[in-house]
């Protein structure tokens, strides 16, 4: 099986190879702060293991002349219920500079955990982080305006968590069917 995996790894598509090259630059700079490269054929990614360095990594990814990830295409939230963690998955592209793209995962503890905000690096992240907070409840440290963005301000709970139970009433109106 390992051999099959290796062979599959050897025939990485051109797109994945570009992502690998970009990852190698980040790995060289940050070492153990980032995980191994995952050559997912749909969206290659790596994980930020040292969450505290996420903003440094983000700035490096945006500003380094060989990377120039100037566009945060998406920021999604994930609930890893079994691991007891919450996370985000960010997709990056380099518009007008390079054709490479990559995804970055950052995780935090499910209860009371926090992830540094990168809204100062990519302004796109501002509303995306607010949405992730609204749906999953992870706190983004340093976010300039961390309020709910879709749900009403006085909503209870975080709807996309896997153990979410909807509240019985909202302002006296019955919520469940």
């Amino acid at each position: 099986m390992d051999k099959a995996m290796e062979e599959a790894g050897n025939i990485m598509s051109a797109m994945v190879q570009e992502s690998k090259a970009a990852y190698d630059i980040i790995r060289e700079r940050f070492g153990e702060a980032v995980s191994e490269f995952d050559a997912n054929p749909t969206m290659p990614f790596f994980e930020v293991l040292d969450t505290a360095r996420w903003v440094d990594i983000a700035l490096f990814m945006r500003d380094d002349a060989r990377l120039k990830f100037n566009c945060m295409a998406c920021l999604s939230g994930v609930d890893y219920l079994e691991e007891g963690k919450l996370g985000i998955v960010c997709n990056f592209e380099s518009i007008g500079q390079y054709t490479h793209r990559i995804a970055v995962k950052v995780k935090c503890q499910r209860d009371g955990g926090s992830i540094p905000s990168v809204s100062c690096v990519w302004h796109t992240a501002n509303w995306h982080e607010r949405e992730a907070y609204d749906m999953y409840g992870m706190v983004f440290d340093g976010h300039p305006d961390l309020r709910r963005i879709l749900c009403p301000e006085d909503w209870t709970g975080f709807p996309l968590r896997k153990d979410y139970q909807v509240q019985e009433t909202y302002h006296g109106i019955k919520v469940p069917y």
């Binding site: 009403p152 909202y170 919520v175 069917y177």
Partner: protein
């Protein structure tokens, strides 16, 4: 609109009851409030536009609840919107009517189970007179619902409560299946 069909004598005198005249006037210029909440609103706008031409029934949307007789709840009512819908309904002058258009506003539609953010039926917050099923309903279905509202107005009278009018309407209703079957028979013959 039986009143116009009746022959008016050459002296332009018409004998009828006040109820009849009032009801005729009200049902011939039913002004809905111009607001839509989701995809049903697209069908509602299509119904207003030239293809289905609601203006031939005297129905055209008003931009203020204070000038409206009818609220067409066209689309998904979220919990956030529910309170706004109540406010809008309260701003409408009486007599006012509510038509719930589409599965979402009837009962929550596809969001009935996992849609934490959706009100499971607008009748939880305001009284509804006519429900139009569909997801979304075709313009013909909406016109059918509006004609049901017109029928309801025709059943009303001075001193008669809305409940009694609805009861009268229910008693007079015919099973549409027979009409459909008959039309099918004619079409296939």
């Amino acid at each position: 609109m039986g009143l116009l069909d009746a022959r008016i004598s050459n002296r332009n005198v018409l004998v009828t009851s006040v109820d009849n005249v009032m009801n005729w006037a009200r049902l011939s210029s039913l002004w809905p409030m111009g607001f839509g909440l989701a995809c049903c609103a697209i069908e509602m706008m299509a119904t207003n536009a030239s293809n289905y031409d609601l203006e031939r029934f005297g129905i055209f949307p008003r931009s203020s609840p204070r000038q409206s007789d009818l609220m067409i709840v066209a689309g998904t009512v979220t919990m956030k919107m529910a309170e706004r819908v109540i406010t809008l309904y309260e701003q409408m002058p009486e007599p006012r009517y509510v038509l719930s258009m589409g599965s979402c506003s009837n009962c929550g539609g596809p969001y009935w189970n996992h849609g934490y953010h959706v009100l499971k039926g607008v009748d939880r917050v305001i009284p509804v007179d006519v429900y139009v099923p569909g997801c979304p309903p075709r313009p013909e279905a909406l016109i059918g619902g509006l004609m049901k509202i017109q029928e309801l107005i025709r059943m009303e009278g001075i001193g008669l409560s809305r409940q009694d009018a609805l009861k009268k309407l229910a008693e007079k209703s015919v099973d549409p299946q027979q009409v459909i079957d008959q039309a099918r028979k004619v079409a296939t013959a």
